[in-house]
């Protein structure tokens, strides 16, 4: 696979799918039948044809995409910020005003230094005209995606023109840039000034309307490519990606890569798949079950702390709390994992197992977790400890694993690594999940917990909204060696939501 032809001048379009999409929008906005209504705009003493108003742009976008005006305004603003639409009146900042403010669509030009050339397109449509030097259709020159990175020389010429035309038109940051460029390309400054004067002279030969339009186009172009301080730089993309593009070429070329692909595909073809209908039903039941427990979907009682500035919800639902809420106790019934992940739930489950004399199962599982996620250096010690406590004949908390798994585990213990207890752990986990857990849910203990658990009262809206509540900070986990157990309780029938 050859490296491919050199990318066309300008930013690699493939890396900016959003630019191509914006261009499609802009092209359809200029459609003579379906596009935005074009009108002639009177500016000072000149008439500019094929202008659009800000409000027309917003209306068109809202209709075309079936979105609210707010969203349409946002989308239009983005088009302006990228220079695809430019303001005709005082384009100091690229904003879309949803009123009679006139705008125009950015057009094609041959080369930014060729100002004496083609007048702006009369129809306001995209110009496709072959360049004398490069054959083939030319995509609109000013479009952000096709322009090569704006050259310093061009910027210098632009600033010089502004400076010559009328002293004092350069804004602060432009003055700074001008001075900096002057220092940097001092050797070529004569060329800069000469070009600037030439372009100004050529511009004088054009009609007032053309001059105004070109000035606006230019100004917009430079606002996009050299944003003033504080304005977002829409062209910034962050650190280069596909920076291993070179290595990507290598990777795709290597035989190993393809062999691995083939192996993966063969395995994938052999795997069992589940019918979509079954999988998708599972989402419905999952979302349905969890909906009432989802604060952003169903709210939460007594109140969402972020909205009410009251942290009672967090206090009532602290990791280790004496009286868990009803919703919380309900969640223990959703899945075994849910029960184990809640410290309060896990503690109750441990109590239950204790009553059945199978508490060592949970302890064993916990010890295995510690091994799996523990420090590498601890592995041998932890494995030994687990063996002593749970697996050795006559161990204090001997776990009942089937003989085959036990045999394999003991064999593996000769060369301990962090996954050596995986099989045994899974066996015990399944035992608890399939046997002890269902019995726990049916037990009197659990039923009592469910009955005792309360539903917090909804916190009443404050009568005096201007009473400022101090927001309570919580102690940082980094400060304390062990989690603090708050004493807040939530009795049956609900507690007082106001702390």
């Amino acid at each position: 696979m050859a490296a491919g032809p050199a990318p066309p001048p300008g930013r690699p379009r493939a890396q900016m799918p959003h630019l191509r999409k914006m261009e499609r929008v802009v092209v359809s906005m200029q459609d003579p039948d379906q596009g935005v209504k074009m009108r002639s705009q009177r500016l000072l003493v000149t008439v500019i044809p094929h202008a659009v108003t800000g409000s027309d742009v917003v209306q068109w976008l809202a209709q075309k995409f079936c979105v609210s005006e707010e969203e349409a305004l946002h989308l239009g603003a983005v088009l302006v910020q990228h220079g695809y639409i430019y303001p005709l009146r005082d384009p100091r900042s690229l904003m879309l005003r949803p009123d009679e403010t006139p705008y125009r669509f950015q057009e094609g030009r041959r080369a930014c230094w060729d100002w004496s050339g083609t007048p702006p397109c009369r129809r306001g449509l995209v110009v496709h005209r072959p360049l004398p030097k490069s054959p083939g259709p030319q995509t609109p020159y000013f479009w952000t995606s096709t322009l090569r990175p704006a050259a310093e020389l061009d910027y210098a010429i632009y600033l010089a023109k502004k400076n010559i035309r009328k002293r004092g038109t350069l804004v602060d940051y432009e003055k700074d840039c001008y001075d900096r460029l002057h220092k940097k390309i001092n050797h070529a400054w004569d060329l800069v000034l000469m070009q600037a004067r030439e372009q100004l002279r050529a511009a004088k030969q054009r009609s007032k309307g053309d001059r105004l339009v070109i000035a606006c186009q230019e100004q917009t172009y430079w606002l996009v490519n050299r944003p003033p301080p504080g304005a977002p730089d829409v062209l910034e993309q962050g650190p280069g990606r596909g920076s291993c593009a070179a290595s990507r070429v290598l990777m795709t070329k290597s035989a190993d890569f393809h062999k691995r692909e083939i192996e993966y595909f063969r395995k994938a073809l052999g795997r069992t798949r589940v019918k979509s209908s079954v999988c998708l039903e599972a989402y419905l039941s999952f979302c349905g079950q969890r909906g009432p427990h989802d604060p952003l979907v169903s709210g939460c009682l007594p109140s969402n702390p972020w909205i009410s500035d009251n942290d009672a919800y967090w206090v009532m639902n602290a990791p280790t709390v004496a009286a868990p809420t009803k919703l919380r106790v309900e969640r223990w019934g959703f899945s075994f994992r849910e029960l184990l992940e809640d410290p309060v739930g896990r503690a109750h489950f441990m109590d239950f197992l204790g009553k059945e004399f199978s508490g060592e199962n949970l302890s064993f599982w916990e010890a295995c977790e510690e091994l799996r996620y523990g420090a590498q250096a601890q592995v041998p010690t932890l494995v030994d400890a687990v063996y002593e406590q749970f697996l050795a004949p006559g161990a204090a908390h001997w776990v009942n694993i089937d003989s085959r798994t036990m045999e394999q585990t003991l064999e593996g213990l000769r060369q301990p690594h962090r996954y050596v207890l995986d099989d045994a752990q899974l066996h015990i986990y399944m035992l608890m999940k399939k046997d002890s857990y269902p019995r726990f849910l049916k037990s009197d203990m659990y039923k009592a917990l469910l009955a005792e658990a309360g539903i917090p009262l909804e916190m009443k809206r404050r009568v005096f909204p201007f009473t400022w509540r101090p927001r309570h900070s919580s102690p940082s986990p980094a400060l304390l060696p062990t989690p603090v157990e708050p004493t807040a309780a939530c009795g049956p029938g609900g507690g007082d939501g106001v702390a």
């Binding site: 977002p232 639902n317 986990p477 980094a478």
Partner: protein, 353 residues
């Protein structure tokens, strides 16, 4: 490698075509069991009401673009990192800054909070992932206790602790992911298979806790077995870089956000893409995605400064949130689902509820 002999080239071509044909067969197999679309199944689900979500907290303090953030398990604290190398720990309920450290590199694109809440991890253009224990001792300089854990050969794009403070999973621009032992810095497992930069990862919430998903510039999302280092499933339906991946709360599926302006849902049991979340008016890439607690809502931050809220089941856009003044670069729902936080290139973080 580029200048192999003719024999190798022939083998290369035949290998490539074999891979292509197998890939085609796999697509066929996947399609066979696809008997219904998600939005069809979801027709009988009640529509969600009108959503009113607002910014409830604005965290100001970063001097430059915010690139990444993570919640602490205590549901209130947040760690965030930015382009200028600053990493800040906030008590976001009070909006107080609790810790700050300056990394020796710029573009800190990844940061994570340790499960215990006692440490943070971060990295970026330094190609490393470093762990900083959090200390309130005024005499201690946080940077002094810094531990360099991961070493990649290109930028660090994402990092996450596993179930404990002692292991970190990283993703990098060098095309690999890796699992590290924090204390010793030892590489425990590496994951090769992406054909380009890996941009994101997420650990599976499964009960046997052994897999994670990663997304990259090769438009692929890959699911890995942490123990063996093998890729167990791969999905390639996006049209551009995948910026973010996040598991559905049940662990049976995951969502992805990409530069192609779509978010997609992939089911692991059906082994295919099952939903696309897109709209014609959404043109810019999605940089980060996360689910609400029940998995009914998908929050996605976009490069056009907005956040779109999607109904995961019905596939429709529920709400659009304005507020940020530059692209949204990171978004996470809080551990108890009471809010979500977004970080942006406008230097701020916002907590929404």
């Amino acid at each position: 490698m580029a200048t192999e002999g003719l024999h190798e080239n022939e083998t290369l071509a035949s290998l490539k075509s074999e891979a292509e044909s197998l890939k085609g067969k796999l697509e066929e197999e996947r399609a066979k069991l696809h008997d219904v679309e998600l939005h069809q199944v979801a027709e009988r689900v009640e529509a969600l009401g009108q959503f009113v979500m607002k910014t409830r907290r604005t965290l100001k303090g970063h001097g430059n673009k915010v690139l990444c953030m993570d919640w602490c398990k205590d549901k209130r604290r947040i760690v965030s990192s930015s382009q200028d190398g600053k990493v800040i720990v906030w008590g976001s309920f009070t909006t107080n800054k609790e810790h700050a450290v300056t990394m020796p590199c710029t573009w800190v694109m990844a940061c994570a909070y340790a499960p215990s809440g006692c440490a943070i991890a971060c990295g970026g253009l330094d190609n490393k992932c470093s762990v900083y224990p959090l200390t309130f001792d005024k005499n201690e300089n946080m940077a002094a206790k810094k531990k360099s854990v991961a070493m990649h050969t290109n930028y660090l794009s994402a990092c996450s602790f596993t179930n404990s403070d002692m292991q970190i999973l990283t993703a990098s621009g060098d095309g690999t992911c890796a699992l590290w032992d924090v204390e010793s810095g030892q590489l425990l497992q590496s994951f090769h298979g992406h054909g380009a930069d890996v941009l994101c990862l997420d650990l599976a919430p499964s009960e046997t806790g052994n897999t994670f998903v990663s997304g990259g510039c090769d438009k692929k999302a890959m699911v890995w077995d942490m123990r063996s280092g093998q890729c167990v499933q791969a999905f390639e339906t996006h049209e551009s870089d995948i910026n973010s991946v996040r598991y559905y709360p049940s662990g049976d599926a995951f969502a992805s956000g990409s530069d192609d302006a779509t978010c997609r849902l992939y089911d692991l049991r059906a082994d295919r893409e099952v939903a696309i979340y897109s709209k014609e008016s959404i043109i810019f890439g999605a940089s980060s995605v996360d689910f609400s607690l029940s998995g009914r809502l998908l929050f996605a931050g976009y490069n056009d400064y907005t956040i779109n809220v999607w109904d995961v089941l019905k596939g429709s856009r529920v709400s659009i949130l304005f507020g940020h003044e530059n692209r949204v670069s990171t978004l996470r729902v809080s551990p108890d689902g009471t809010a979500f936080c977004s970080g942006s290139w406008d230097h701020t973080l916002r907590v929404w509820a």
